[in-house]
């Protein structure tokens, strides 16, 4: 009998959640709304609900949300991706859950209100199809044997057959395939067995499946097929610039209708491969990429406006402030008259703040104090706006403006 067989559940859980923690995605939002009390399938025999907004049941000391039981079915893997702790050439301890163990663990945690559901990923064992089949069995058992109505996110194995991917979509709320590296060329070097074209094709098929299934299911009042897919890009493991990364994101959002692209600053892993950089990128870089991503999706910015080709984002100020500093001629804007698009491009004003400004100014001429009340703070906005009782004067064009807007870095570790 091998050492594996005697691993107890606790040890397996430690190994297989440790191995899963490099996946940034933990969202449990955006699933179709359902619960166990009522619904198209009637009252449930089991437990579970998803009510649109995700819930973070705990936060780890890294500040990240713990919403799902995020584990691997196994961390045995036949591949050798340099950035991955589970690559075949790594000396990480190995373990493998049975389908039933994952199902029981999910239900036990869920019934104690530790989690919103399951995020199951896996190393690839034997073949892509074999691995995917095991993962689908977990989701299927939760849904069919236990009438589990919580959240399920399955990581797709890109090389698994389209039929299995489609079956995963039947039981999961979200599926994802990690692109991992922003440039196809680096994928070839750092993840020699991963086929970027295969990943793209699998994402394309999944988008079509999601679109094909959900319209008829909606009409029939039936349980929906997976409602979204997402992916992850690792930042700082290759030479890609922020402009390359954002261009890749813009491409992914457009091509595969992804709900989210996650950016994960490459993190030192135990037993790292020699093909990797020894330094980790500043976490601030990841943060700035998320801000830029938001600007593209909710603030009407195009990727080219945010960062020039071949360039990185400015780490010292947020990308909207950086854009405003490059376009000082467009400022200050009068919050009492400017249109929505212009307000959205103003540093310090978020989408909700802008909507409140638009509503409030129908009632009153806004003062700086008013803007502070609806936006929470005017520190960043002040040099860029005019209100009933405030005008920045020469401040907008002042030489020292940028320096005054730099927030001392607090995200760094040491």
């Amino acid at each position: 009998m091998s050492a594996m067989a005697v691993l107890d559940l606790k040890r397996k859980l430690a190994i297989l959640s440790d191995a899963a923690k490099y996946d940034a995605s933990c969202a449990s939002s955006g699933a179709e709304k359902r619960n166990s009390l009522s619904g198209p399938e009637g009252r449930g025999k089991g437990v579970g609900s998803t009510e649109g907004m995700g819930i973070c049941h705990a936060y780890a000391p890294d500040g990240r949300c713990i919403s799902l039981l995020k584990i691997l079915l196994t961390n045995f893997c036949i591949y050798d991706c340099a950035y991955c702790i589970n690559r075949v050439s790594s000396n990480a301890p190995r373990a493998r859950f049975t389908v039933k163990e994952v199902v029981d663990l999910t239900l036990n945690f869920y019934k104690r209100n530790y989690i919103e559901g399951l995020f199951l990923s896996s190393g690839v064992i034997q073949t892509g199809d074999y691995t995917m089949e095991e993962m689908v069995r977990v989701a299927k058992s939760l849904r069919l044997d236990h009438d589990f109505r919580g959240y399920i996110h399955l990581k797709l194995i890109p090389e698994a057959s389209p039929e299995l991917a489609a079956e995963a979509g039947l039981y999961a709320d979200r599926v994802s395939i990690n692109i991992e590296l922003p440039q196809d060329e680096s994928l070839t070097i750092l993840a020699p067995e991963k086929d970027p074209a295969g990943i793209k094709r699998a994402m394309g098929r999944m988008r079509l499946s999601i679109e094909d299934h959900n319209e008829p299911a909606k009409k029939a009042g039936k349980r929906k097929f997976a409602t979204s897919q997402s992916t992850q890009l690792i930042v700082g493991a290759d030479a890609a610039r922020d402009s390359d990364i954002l261009a890749r994101s813009a491409n992914l959002y457009g091509a595969y209708k992804l709900r989210r692209v996650y950016y994960s600053a490459f993190s030192p892993i135990p037993d790292a491969a020699s093909r990797l950089p020894s330094m980790r990128p500043p976490l601030m870089r990841e943060h700035r990429l998320y801000q830029a991503d938001w600007l593209m999706r909710f603030y009407g910015f195009t990727q080219g406006e945010i960062v020039e080709p071949g360039e990185d984002l400015d780490l010292t100020v947020d990308p909207k402030t950086a854009w405003a500093l490059r376009h000082r001629g467009d400022f200050p804007v009068d919050v009492n008259t400017a249109d929505r698009d212009t307000l959205l491009r103003t540093p310090g004003l978020g989408t909700r703040g802008v909507d409140r400004i638009l509503s409030a100014r129908r009632q009153t001429r806004l003062t700086l104090a008013d803007v502070k009340r609806v936006c929470g703070s005017t520190k960043r906005a002040q040099p860029f706006i005019v209100t009933a009782d405030w005008t920045p004067g020469g401040l907008t064009d002042a030489k020292g403006l940028k320096a005054s807007l730099i927030v001392p870095e607090q995200l760094s570790l040491f």
């Binding site: 559940l9 606790k10 859980l13 430690a14 440790d18 923690k21 619960n35 166990s36 009390l37 009252r43 437990v47 009510e51 973070c56 049941h57 705990a58 936060y59 000391p61 890294d62 500040g63 990240r64 995020k70 050798d80 075949v88 050439s89 790594s90 036990n108 019934k111 104690r112 209100n113 530790y114 009438d147 196809d184 020699p192 086929d195 793209k200 094709r201 994402m203 394309g204 098929r205 079509l208 813009a250 491409n251 959002y253 457009g254 091509a255 030192p268 135990p270 037993d271 790292a272 491969a273 990797l276 593209m296 409030a360 129908r362 009632q363 009153t364 009340r373 609806v374 607090q410 570790l413």
Partner: protein, 476 residues
């Protein structure tokens, strides 16, 4: 001074009745004192609802009711008075509710926000424990909410844990679910709930393992999981040690020397590189061409596209239809003419009595050229260099299929076939002889028809496409 005694700390209905009556009487906010009286039989109970017709008619906007319902659950002592002030002002300033910048409204909104956050955190941080030795299973939790949200949040737990018997004990109130109904009772004591649950050891294992010490950020953690909740979270006891050891663990990882990859792995990588490479040797079969096109790097369009879309149809088709390039759907499915333009072409074929299955259908350019626009991909016409680069594949397809007739749809297709540009309007309608004996028929690209704004022009172009399909068929 008027004193209003409400029945409980969360007596929204009582506040509403009293507010209504006071307003009707014209009692200004500064003349009212709001208290909570647990002894309902004491004097000075809440004013009765106003008699019909008393005072001027006044309808409270629904957003204010929604706000007030939440504000009442806040632990702030001034909540009832603030709400009455807002009610009083709403009658006099009807626009108030739509002014998010108003100081009173801002204060109420902040209180409501505190309540919503407390409710959300209750959904997140309640931890059930299995009561030992009871059949069927019963789960219990002790929880201390930041505001008085227990009753308001209880239905959420009923919807979620429908198939479970559970109760949540708090200092304010307790709620219990027996699978059928929710019961509310008075506040309780932590000693009334179980002290342990065997699963908590596993949960702590998970909590410790999912934490990435290289990203330590306790400030962020505490912002979202304030310390006030820690004493009832079984995992929180690990936090000090996890923070303390993070730096050491990260340093060890960075210092550790990388292991060289194994021979076996290197061999696999080499094998992959060999199999995946695209040689410039001519493909000999259509299948080979279709596979090789997937790794084509003759131009840069592969980068943004999902896949190359090779032609499809009988290998010895007498007629070949050439379009411009794949669109959004073609890019995702890997098949030509399956999107909106393809559907229009199918319709025209049906009208022309043209059997698509007998034709080899392909495109002048095999990858989808586009630019991202928000969440869409906008089609972009391939440039001359890209068409030229892709002629390698189109020529290979022509060489292998050897069609008698080629129907070129649109200017890009004409360019791909002939290497030069020709105006469609003047070159369509009659066959053109090509080198090697095949004949070329030129027509409109169906996606051009989809874009023509003028209905008459569109109908005319469509009729011409049908004619050209007939013409092409007649030449086979």
């Amino acid at each position: 001074m008027r004193v209003v005694r409400l029945a409980s700390e969360i007596d929204f209905d009582g506040w509403r009745r009293a507010g209504r009556a006071l307003r009707a009487e014209g009692v200004p906010p500064e003349a009212v004192v709001w208290t909570v009286e647990y002894d309902l039989f004491a004097d000075g109970a809440a004013p009765a609802a106003p008699a019909k017709g008393a005072g001027p008619r006044f309808t409270v906007p629904q957003p204010f009711i929604d706000l007030a319902e939440r504000v009442v659950l806040n632990r702030s002592n001034e909540r009832f008075a603030l709400l009455y002030t807002l009610l009083w002002r709403l009658e006099r300033e009807p626009g108030l509710i739509d002014n998010p910048a108003d100081p009173d409204l801002t204060r109420a909104r902040d209180m409501a926000k505190g309540v919503s956050r407390a409710a959300h955190k209750m959904k997140a941080f309640v931890r059930f424990r299995l009561v030992e030795g009871v059949e069927p299973e019963v789960y219990m939790a002790w929880f201390e909410p930041a505001h008085r949200v227990t009753e308001a949040v209880a239905p959420f737990f009923a919807r979620r844990f429908t198939g479970m018997n559970w109760s949540i004990l708090t200092p304010d109130a307790c709620v219990a679910w027996d699978g059928e109904t929710l019961k509310v009772s008075e506040g309780a004591d932590p000693a009334d709930a179980p002290r342990e649950d065997a699963q908590e050891e596993l949960w702590r294992t998970y909590y410790a393992s999912i934490f990435n010490p290289a990203r330590l950020n306790p400030r962020m953690m505490q912002q979202e999981m304030p310390k006030r909740y820690w004493r009832n979270l079984p995992e929180a006891r690990l936090i000090p040690e996890l923070i303390e050891s993070a730096q050491r663990r990260t340093a060890q990882m960075v210092e550790a020397r990388p292991n060289p990859p194994s021979e076996r792995v290197l061999k696999a990588a080499l094998r992959h590189a060999r199999d995946g490479s695209y040689g410039e040797s001519d493909p000999l079969t259509l299948e080979e061409a279709a596979v090789a096109a997937q790794v084509c790097r003759r131009c840069d369009l592969w980068r943004e596209a999902t896949q190359a879309v090779p032609g499809e149809g009988p290998a010895r088709a007498r007629i070949m239809i050439v379009g411009e390039q794949p669109g959004d759907e073609e890019d995702l499915t890997g098949r030509p003419f399956v999107g909106p333009a393809g559907r229009l072409l199918d319709k025209a074929m049906l009208e022309a009595d043209f059997d698509r299955r007998k034709a080899f259908v392909t495109n002048a350019v095999k990858h989808f050229k586009h630019e991202p626009r928000g969440k869409m991909r906008l089609h972009k016409t391939p440039d001359r260099g890209e068409v030229q680069a892709c002629r390698w594949w189109l020529d290979a397809e022509r060489r292998m299929v050897k069609p008698r007739v080629i129907l070129a749809l649109g200017a890009t297709a004409v360019m791909g076939i002939t290497g030069r540009s020709m105006p469609i309007a003047r070159s369509r309608g009659a066959p053109i002889a090509l080198d090697g004996g095949a004949r070329l028929v030129v027509s409109w690209h169906p996606s051009y028809l989809l874009r023509v704004p003028d209905a008459d022009a569109r109908a005319r172009a469509y009729a011409q496409l049908v004619d050209d399909l007939r013409l092409a068929q007649s030449l086979t």
